[in-house]
Amino acid sequence: MKIAILWLLLVGLTLLTWWAGQVGYSGQWLVVALLISVFTKGHFIIADFMALREVSPLWRILVHGWLVLVLCLIYLAYWVGM
């Protein structure tokens, strides 16, 4: 049941991302919102789908660290391009 609710959350966030693209929103705050959305989705995929919540913290930190690093670099690049 929990996994189905998580799936629905992931679907909802994806539809919001698609909608943001369809209406043509742009700008720094949209990028921040999208990156937070990606982090939320990524967190649940890592912790619950990959089930890293149940294993050694090292693996969870490594994969979460990858996600945070990538999202920060994407934001930095966006900021540089503004």
Partner: protein, 175 residues
């Protein structure tokens, strides 16, 4: 397998960062050509991969409960979702190639084609891995007590999903 997954994530991180910084030097070009992408297919493929990941989680839960046939069936369903992704992505690629677009068209398309094709190949590899796991499940190689192979195959598939979760907004939406 986890070392392999981390290595894959590192390569995708380099790809994503390269795309983002290339965009920062060519914002107008990237924003213009991003509008030529089929965002509907991109979103549909995100939903398909998420659903495939749900099926994989259910396969792992099934084998942990000792339900081998159910595990195999969920794995086959996730392979089916992967096939749907491949078909939709193929339609997207065919449309672009049909317009004469290639890696050398411009910087945006070079990144778009190489990034999405690289991920596309990972989806196919993920399907092959899941098929091998389903085959072994059918052969009775996994049980409630021993199912490391199922969990390993599942982790690879989730990695493919995780990467697309970043790729879709980065390439199709952020402007």
């Amino acid at each position: 397998m986890w070392i392999f997954i981390l290595a894959e994530l590192l390569v995708f991180a380099i790809f994503f960062t390269s795309y983002a910084f290339a965009r920062s030097g060519n914002v107008a070009l990237f924003n213009h050509y991003q509008q030529t992408l089929n965002r509907d297919i991109g979103a549909a493929n995100t939903l398909i991969l998420l659903t495939g990941s749900l099926f994989v989680v259910l396969a792992v839960q099934a084998i942990k409960a000792g339900k081998v046939s159910l595990c195999r069936n969920w794995l086959l369903a996730s392979i089916g979702s992967g096939a749907l992704f491949v078909i939709l992505k193929g339609i997207e690629f065919a449309d672009k190639f049909g317009q004469g677009i290639s890696l050398s068209t411009n910087t945006f398309y070079m990144f778009y084609l190489s990034l999405t094709f690289f991920h596309f190949m990972h989806v196919i590899l993920g399907m092959i891995i899941l098929a091998a796991v389903a085959w072994k499940a059918q052969a009775g190689d996994y049980s409630a007590a021993e199912h490391t192979g199922v969990e390993t195959g599942a982790s690879y598939w989730h990695m493919v999903d995780l990467v697309w979760i970043v790729l879709f907004p980065l390439v199709y939406v952020i402007r």
